[in-house]
Subunit: 422 residues, 2 copies
């Protein structure tokens, strides 16, 4: 039923006091046809039909400390193991893939560390799932921004503003020329700011400015809700009032709700991954972003928040760079690439390093909170300063030099360059 090309291939980083190769074989066995006591009806024929196979082992330097606490003393042996699952054993269902190739693996006894570091899916997945509806080109078309990063900002404080208070802040930043504005991901539809009231307070400002200037700011509305029916109602409210984007807490709602939304969506879907960190922050445990993003990408995310250079939250720069490359590299076709959303403590100061380290592209959204709204010259100066920083980065001019003829950038440097970010 399967030919040689038709396998789902995963790579596991396995760490153990004992023999890690034995554990790799155990993964292949447990996660397909294996059981612990021979049972009636188990034949070689059915085993061959769906059995997962260990196809390669690469030894890694041992670790002095174990990733999970261990009573045994080190060094702890480490390998990367490639396992191939016959396509027919899993099919294209992403929940089945998650359960069989990833979820169940974490419960196997004997590891001192286990991390999923790569996944290669056959072309059937590209056909079975919709992928992004808008992606990079749709985001550019809707914002009217070409040839430079889409520049966005976030309404802060995260919680507590009533709709009219949020609207006043939004008016400032769209008047300032921000291409994109978003609800903080923690703001969904609380009693002090129900989504519909917020939409009714803000969308007229956006449409009014569009009529006056021709420029429509993209606003990402916090439509996430546990109940998918409720989330669709939220989606419809935004669409009805002329909105074109939503921020989705993908990890909180889960894969099923994302699939449900994508089938019915007319909005650009901007993914926030809160909760993800605990699955990746320990380098010996969990999962690489490169693996995880494939699920959300197939499900239909358009824009993906992936931190940035020198962020204010946890993430090493090299991890961000790897995430950027993952979502900007085609999975099955160019159209399935997502718009990388670079954010967290950004103010323009990180533009040169971002540009140099992510392949010298401007196909990204650059999201600054305080870096725009707390600019001493106001939000308008903040937006101009960020654009100037990107002009300098693309032209290979040092920010300090470019700032000599660009006063807003000069003010930004004076204000934000001291700290870690904005």
């Amino acid at each position: 039923m399967s030919d040689d090309r038709n396998f789902i291939r995963l790579t596991y980083l396995i760490e153990a006091a004992g023999d890690p190769e034995k554990l790799a074989k155990k993964i292949a066995s447990d996660q397909s046809t294996g059981t612990f006591v021979p049972v009636p009806g188990e034949t070689d024929e059915l085993k061959n039909r769906v059995a997962a196979r260990l196809t390669a082992i690469r030894p890694l330097p041992p670790a002095a400390k174990s990733s999970f606490p261990s009573g045994e003393s080190g060094p702890f042996k480490r390998i990367e193991a490639d396992i191939a699952f016959p396509f027919d054993a899993i099919g294209t269902d992403l929940a089945a893939l998650m359960t069989i190739a990833i979820g169940g693996v974490y419960s196997i006894e004997g590891f001192t560390g286990i991390r999923i570091v790569d996944m290669k899916l056959p072309a059937e997945f590209g056909k079975a799932w919709p992928g992004p509806q808008f992606g990079v080109s749709g985001s550019r078309k809707l914002t009217g921004v070409e040839g430079r990063p889409i520049i966005g900002t976030i309404v802060k404080p995260a919680l507590g503003l009533r709709p009219h208070e949020t609207a006043a802040l939004v008016k400032d930043v769209i008047d300032a020329g921000a291409d994109f504005v978003k609800d903080d991901e923690k703001l969904m539809s609380p009693s002090y700011s129900p989504l519909e009231e917020r939409v009714k307070a803000i969308m007229p400002l956006i449409l009014d400015r569009e009529q006056k200037t021709g420029k429509k700011a993209m606003y990402a509305w916090g439509i996430s809700a546990t109940d998918p029916d409720g989330m669709i109602r939220n989606h419809d409210i935004v669409l009805k009032h002329g909105g074109n984007c939503a921020v989705i807490n993908i990890n909180s709602i889960g894969m099923g709700a994302m699939a449900f939304l994508r089938k019915r969506s007319g909005l650009v879907l901007h993914a926030h991954r809160n909760g993800w960190d605990i699955l990746t922050r320990h380098p010996g445990l969990g999962m690489d972003f490169k693996v995880w993003q494939q699920f959300w990408r197939l499900l239909g995310v358009d824009q993906f928040q992936i931190n940035g250079i020198r962020v204010k939250y946890w993430e090493p720069d090299e991890s961000f760079v790897a995430s950027f490359k993952a979502i900007a590299t085609p999975l099955f076709s160019k159209d399935d690439c997502l718009l990388p959303v670079v954010g967290s403590g950004q103010w323009g100061g990180q533009a040169p390093d971002t540009y140099d380290r992510t392949g010298r592209t401007v196909d990204l959204m650059y999201l600054c909170g305080g870096g725009i709204v707390s600019h001493p010259g106001g939000a308008g100066a903040g937006v101009r300063a960020v654009r100037q920083a990107w002009e300098a980065a693309v032209q290979g001019i040092a920010l300090q030099d470019y700032a000599k003829s660009h006063p807003e950038l000069a003010q930004s440097i004076a204000t934000f360059a001291g700290g870690k970010g904005a």
Copy 2:
């Protein structure tokens, strides 16, 4: 807007090389009104409306090793910190709760360890969510089992059997008197065993036996699917053919899909938590089951697989015991308790310890795979042996003694007592 009683209260285990209390305050700030640069519009009034508060700190003994790898040397300071979120800041939406009080916390810089160890929700959550539709009493009514644990088994091998092959194995175990049978959680609807064909091959056997004996085995069908619409189609197939239970990979489908299913479900929902382990296996990171189960319980799980004593997969016995107590203790009312499903390497040998350590109750499902089907006297003897083990446990008779007059139990001991389990 909030009085003193109306808070959502979480407890965080915080580990850090620096000052953990400072990080506790940072959680309270970041996850509600905080931002990093003073922004216009931020007033004390709105802060008070929704700001989270650090309400208590309990120092714990320091850790010699850090949970996340750290460049700093130990010992690492540890505290438990209670933080109260005003109910109005979050409301009853579970995705909002997960995002604000849990998800976002994992990304804060400066921890060497962070684990959510407790959560107390106000009564509004009990009113907003359906909770279990069947729970313990519904599971008993549908299986007709009273006064002892519901005894179940799993069809193995996990993957590869065609519907007629699965049916032959199921016939054996229902003829043997098993109260409950389930698809392996890895079996959903692959091309070699589409759910509908499997249902059509097996349900007639169950209904036929019900007609002959009056006893209807509960079969948990693997209806999980990424697309909630598809999952409902699977649900409807099972219901239409007379089935009454489904096994759901809750972590793979996510909270939204679970809410969607529960609203439309006529089946007992048996939760499998694959993938969960990576969120709890490191004791300094992630989340306690006691916290996580509250989400799934409010969403409407009826039966919850929680491992058992001396399991073949990872989990210390005390962790299992804590999980059992968590789901068997009322959250808001007795009706929201779930049926604990005790499984993994069980064969009856663990019955006495299970009974003694979980509060001397028989309100549980006892799930044995090889422990039933690989009994040397066949599956019928396997079921009888497990019942005998539980009779002995409840009567406080040692298994070896009870086995003297119960040959099936004696055979079980001879076969399975050597290894870790079955």
